[in-house]
């Protein structure tokens, strides 16, 4: 097993953004084999703080949410709530000493397409700079030997 | 030692009364009190001692009053209900009387959140109105709250505050009436800058015959600067500083603003003297006690008459 750390991000995005199709999804997955875990959601309003926290807790070094542009939500205010929840979650992780930048929310701009691949890569890069999540790789533990990230008895990295 | 309230005597004689204000020091130094006593003696008929004003911890009002008394000044003991429950309030009233303090001003007090003890518990067991009533009952009936009799009732001239500039306007006079019926014998008002509103309030009070039932002392505070005027307008609760006053202060160069402030103050006192129902003036020169003499002199209120 190589001990080199590769950041893993959880990427939540609203299925209603025009770029949220299957092809885009597969392209990102292919390019970043396991480093980007994509979660399309029916509406960004479906995102709960718990989703973001559990992602960070279980497998991700960072969590990003992409929503439709303000005023563009099919459910009117789903993106508004997504933003607020992401902010609450960010406050919460900061309060336990985790970098707030590990949670990012990106709103689309009306009339402009949202480059999911670009966002994923930008965020990956940002997370690379911040470094491994101390949740998954606790202090004094080299990346790759983390013990804290297993679920149902299986290592999440089996999947990633 | 004089056993009577000078303020009461002056007012009863129909003389236009003058009171001033003395803030106790933020320390245990009696000289600071004595120094201020020196500045105000002979100038004012009585001197109010504030009770932890703006909720900042200072020497206790009761102690400072005692010092003033010893220095030959007739003190007005200000008491706020913020810091003491009904037991402490009543016991302090007895203590004050026993020390020869003959004037008490019953107040609610500035909220604790404004001062240097924002975490303090605000007691507010009684409100100022109930406190007035309690003091009056102690003095006149010799009874404390709950009806128990005192061995010897306190001797006090009882005052309260009024703010003609706060809202709701219509209720202000009602509240004045309530304070009078609760037991207030004299009223010291909030600083007057907006003379129009003050007149209006006074008119309403006159209409209800209140000016006949209580001695009203108009409050004045000399402005030190335009900045202070603005600050008082914007930041001090219950204060009404009209734009014309601010303009007037701003209209003179900085170094002459103090002089202008005194001039305004003197003019205000002059106007107050002309108003039927105003029985005196209460000069609150905040941390500027040395100006009191000049103001009163220019207002023609000095020297103070002798009562003997």
């Amino acid at each position: 097993m190589t001990l080199k750390w590769r950041p893993v991000i959880a990427f939540f995005y609203c299925q209603n953004i025009p770029e949220g199709g299957w092809e885009e999804r597969l392209a990102i997955e292919k390019k970043h084999k396991g480093a980007v875990r994509l979660f399309p959601i029916p509406c960004s309003g479906r995102i709960d703080g718990v989703h973001l926290l559990r992602a960070l807790e279980e497998f991700a070094d960072g969590a990003i949410v992409a929503t439709c542009p303000p005023g563009g939500c099919l459910n009117f205010e789903g993106n508004l709530w997504a933003r607020k929840r992401a902010e609450t979650s960010r406050k919460l992780i900061k309060s336990i000493g985790l970098e707030g930048e590990r949670i990012l929310i990106v709103e689309g701009t009306a009339g402009k397409s949202l480059d999911l691949m670009g966002l994923a890569e930008g965020f990956l890069q940002k997370i690379s700079l911040i470094g491994p999540s101390p949740v998954l790789y606790p202090k004094d533990m080299p990346p790759g030997t983390g013990v804290g990230f297993s679920l149902k008895g299986e290592s999440v990295h089996d999947y990633c | 030692m004089n056993q009577e309230s000078r303020l009461k005597s002056i007012l009863e004689k129909g003389i236009f009364a003058v009171t001033a204000e003395c803030g106790p020091p933020r320390g245990a130094d009696p000289d600071a009190v004595l120094k201020k006593a020196g500045m105000l003696r002979e100038k004012a008929d009585s001197v109010n001692v504030t009770d932890n004003q703006t909720a900042i911890v200072r020497m206790s009002s009761l102690a400072a009053c005692a010092i003033l008394k010893q220095a030959g000044v007739d003190p007005v003991l200000q008491m706020v209900v913020r810091d003491r429950n009904r037991i402490a309030l009543q016991s302090d009233i007895l203590g004050a009387s026993s020390l020869g303090i003959r004037n008490v001003l019953c107040l609610s007090g500035d909220h604790q959140s404004f001062g240097n003890q924002p975490k303090a518990l605000g007691v507010f067991d009684l409100d100022s109105m109930q406190f007035l009533q309690a003091v009056r009952a102690m003095r006149d009936s010799g009874l404390i709250l709950g009806g128990e009799a005192l061995t010897k009732p306190p001797r006090l001239f009882i005052g309260a505050a009024a703010n003609p500039f706060a809202d709701p306007m219509d209720f202000r006079v009602t509240r004045l009436a309530k304070k009078i019926s609760a037991g207030a014998e004299f009223i010291q008002t909030q600083c007057i800058y907006n003379m129009d509103r003050f007149r209006k309030w006074l008119q309403l009070a006159r209409n209800r015959g209140l000016t006949e039932r209580v001695y009203i002392l108009g409050g004045v505070t000399p402005l030190k600067s335009a900045a202070m005027a603005r600050y008082m307008k914007d930041r001090v609760a219950g204060m009404d500083v009209p734009q014309t006053i601010i303009k007037r202060m701003e209209g003179v160069p900085k170094e002459r603003q103090r002089e202008e402030g005194i001039r305004i103050c003197v003019e205000t006192i002059a106007e107050l003297r002309e108003l039927a129902g105003v029985k005196g003036v209460h000069v609150m020169a905040i941390e500027w006690e040395e100006a009191v003499g000049e103001i009163l002199d220019r207002a023609g209120l000095l020297p103070r008459p002798s009562l003997d």
């Binding site: 509406c43 005023g71 099919l74 459910n75 009117f76 205010e77 | -």
Partner: protein
Amino acid sequence: MNRERGFVFPEVIKTPSRFRNPIGKYRLNRSKGCISCGKCLETCTRDVHAMVKGKALVRNHYLCVGYDCENPCHQVCPVKALSLRRNPDFETMGDYRWSPDLLVSAWHMAEFGRPPEKGLEYRTGNSGGGFDKLRILFSNKLKDRVDCNSNGLEPDLAVELNRREDNAHRIRIEVPFYGGGMSYGSVSINTMLSRVKAAKALGTFCCTGEGGYPDELKPYDEHVITQVATGLFGVREETIQRVKIVEFKYAQGAKPGLGGHLLGDKVTPGVARMREAVVGYPLFSPFPFHSVYSVEDHKKHVDWIKAVNPRALVSVKVSTPTDVDMVAVGSYYAGAHIIHLDGSYGGTGAAPDIAKKNIAMPIEYAVPKVHRFLTEEGVRDKITVVASGGIRTPHDVVKIIALGADAVCTGTADLVALECIRCHNCESGRGCARGIATTDPELMDLVGLEWGAQRIINMFMAWRSEMIRILKKLSISSLKDLVGNTACISHIDYS
């Protein structure tokens, strides 16, 4: 209106949804910026907005006609606090056959007694064939023709059910549809009563289905068709004597050739008593009648009913196999008054998906086949052809009659009027979560009797008015003239 007897149709009474938030096609959002100025209330003519304690709110999203609106509130709002969207919930409802538009239109008709004026496609679904590709055709010739309805009378929609002119009852239904069989057990007693009450008001009938003839239906005997199916559940001489029409069910369109199956959960004490069965045990209706293996056997069957109740009309309900035409003729010769064809897209309480999708043919194919064959045999005038299985709209009725039916049976449409949402879970859990197809006492009470009856009346009054409008436009004065009149319809693939 029935010209001879002066039948009076029931009144339409506005009957809103049972649910707090009726679902419409559009949603309006009022943002925090709203200043409650009331401009939207002034603008909207459809009662979408309301002012409650000084606060403006969107009370009736479902009445909004969306982009079809002539003065949109969201455009007049001075602070741009209103925004309009397609309702995302709307998109999740319905299916190819009952598109969300059709569901919501039916709800609209059931509430207001008239078709929706704007914003909804209420005539066809999205199944991509059959009715949904058929169109009523108003040819150019109609424009020159003198309006045959100019005498001021409405086109006559009534249908004579006994065409054999034997000694059985002469029954005329005032509207060209009656309620198809839905058994006690598959639907609640409230649903049954709502349907039959509506049938009475509309001058037509409603069938009990095969689950017996509950006593609650007694006051409506004159408008009940009782069903004799293979399980013979609740069938007694007395029940057959009580009614004017008896229906033999050979097969059901949704599960042709398979018989019926009532899951044990639905066999509540009431159902068990009615069906003379044991509580909690599943009940099967076998297939077929094991006493019937030929037309002769079939005739004996029909004769049996005629012996018990000589004046009863006999209806024979069959599904639509390749030889449906032969079956129809056989039924005629066996003595039936009504041949009821139940097409493969009909409703059911529960059926294997494989059967619903694959077995037997859609009603649109069966009716012309039967009509043609009966005509060729020279007996078309002697038997009434009733079609069912996927009749959803007044347009479907017109189309199927033009293809050769005399009248139709409705089932699912009635339930949709009661706010069935076509979730397809009639059989799961405690039964229908919306209280329609259930025997769960708590869920059952979700449908009130008066409410249900009025909803169904309203919807069918809307159907009726729509059919009258179409007939007038077709310059047809009597529905009889539409039967088999294929020139009135066109298929968009072959037009």
